[in-house]
């Protein structure tokens, strides 16, 4: 009898200990507190898209700027902004530490953008330096969206069509 108790008791204890990380994470309380305050009205793409795919969009921006000299991004409302991490992203999102780092630390990813790209000092930006509001010709809009923003158009075809 005692043996049975020992064996099952031991097994239960072992199972609990082995699955402890899952229990612990079942109801995490310490989600990163990402600073969402911005200086602008709209993001370069819908927030849901950005949450999941900002790294792809940034890679796309990098390649198109450096390789093709294609330096402007078409905003959802048709205006143009510079494809720039420092100027556009952080010209609007107020703090690199609270906006990027917070989440990256939590997810344990270490992108090396800021080894070279310059972090604007928190709160130092008083205006949206990278943002231009030049309107594009209407008929070019869909075309530009399709060509320039291949990545996010693929994920948000409805979004692009709506724009037209």
């Amino acid at each position: 009898m005692l043996e049975k108790f020992l064996i099952f008791g031991g097994l239960t204890a072992f199972l609990l200990a082995a699955t402890f990380p899952f229990w612990q994470n079942a109801a995490p309380e310490d989600y990163p507190k990402v600073a969402m305050e911005t200086k602008g009205e709209q993001c370069v793409a819908p927030a849901s898209y950005m949450r999941e795919n900002h790294m792809q969009l940034l890679n796309e921006w990098r390649d198109s700027v450096v390789r093709d000299g294609d330096r402007f991004h078409i905003m959802p409302d048709g205006s143009k902004v510079e494809k720039s991490l420092t100027k556009t992203c952080l010209g609007c999102h107020v703090s690199q530490e609270k906006f990027c780092e917070e989440c990256h630390t939590y997810a344990s990813v270490k992108p090396y953008c800021w080894e070279c790209h310059v972090t604007p000092k928190s709160g130092a930006h008083t205006e949206l330096t990278g943002i231009e509001t030049e309107k594009l010709e209407e008929d070019n809009l869909l075309n530009n969206l399709l060509v320039r923003n291949r990545v996010f158009v693929a994920g948000n075809l409805n979004f692009a069509v709506k724009q037209q």
Partner: protein
């Protein structure tokens, strides 16, 4: 045997006909794309950026162009010739023009510090040497670097006959006095050089050095545009290029 062969022939005829129809469709679409591509290429202006340096006007002690460039592009200053990073700099005449093609050059020319930078060669050996494609030639003639791709192998430095490239032996960030946020810095282990201010050209501005020079030593423009200022200067003055015998066809010309 014969029947098999007949069947085979019939079948292959069918297959070939089918393939023909399909390829017809494909080529129709393909030409559609090709037409669009050619149209784009035709409407795209032909550009080859170039520079003329009029050394007669350059003042010996002046370094305004260098300061402007190095400020714009966050070029570090290590205060140590071994670690030096240069985009545009002054060097001795005999180092800039070592080919001895010119004898009996006037002393004032010979003894003057000569302005040098990347020549944005029409036929750039650095591009051929780079194993990662980090150094590449743009359609506007600028030899550009993708710092993201550079692995620091320094093949390009060995290939460049003009010493236009510098290697970051150390982290450059602490050696930059005033960081310009508009342009990135580099990392330890990456090569860098002049980019003819392609980020400024995109906004319709002249390169920093050209803008900064109070003596109008530098003329910048499109070498393919017959009516450009630079072509006029090239027409009106005898000019020389660095090491022309190598066939790199530099886009930087000197009036001495």
């Amino acid at each position: 045997m014969t029947e098999n062969r007949r069947k085979f022939l019939k079948k292959s005829a069918g297959v070939i006909a089918g393939a023909g129809v399909v390829s017809g469709f494909i080529s129709k679409y393909a030409t559609g794309f090709a037409d669009a591509a050619t149209e784009k290429a035709v409407t795209k202006k032909k550009i080859r950026w170039g520079m003329v340096i009029d050394m007669r006007k350059c003042v010996s002690g002046c370094e305004k162009c260098i300061d402007a460039c190095h400020l714009t592009h966050n070029v570090p200053d290590f205060d140590n010739p071994k670690d030096e990073i240069k985009w545009i700099w002054k060097s001795d005449y005999h180092k800039v023009f070592p080919s001895k093609s010119q004898q009996f050059v006037a002393a004032e020319t010979r003894e003057k510090p000569f302005l040098t930078l990347c020549n944005h060669c029409e036929n750039p050996p650095c591009v051929k040497a780079c194993p990662t494609g980090a150094t590449f030639k743009q359609s506007d003639g600028i030899v550009e670097m993708d710092f993201h791709r550079c692995i620091g192998c320094r093949f390009c430095m060995a290939a460049c006959p003009y010493g236009s490239r510098s290697f970051n032996w150390r982290n450059p960030r602490p050696a930059i006095k005033n960081i310009t946020p508009d342009y990135p810095t580099r990392e330890h282990g990456v090569v860098e050089k002049c980019n003819f201010c392609s980020e400024r050209l995109a906004k319709g501005q002249q390169p920093s050095c050209v803008e900064a020079c109070p003596e109008k030593v530098l003329t910048f423009g499109n070498l393919y545009d017959k009516n450009s200022e630079i072509r006029q200067v090239l027409k009106d003055n005898p000019t020389i290029q660095r090491k022309p015998e190598l066939g790199t066809n530099p886009s930087v010309f000197y009036i001495t």
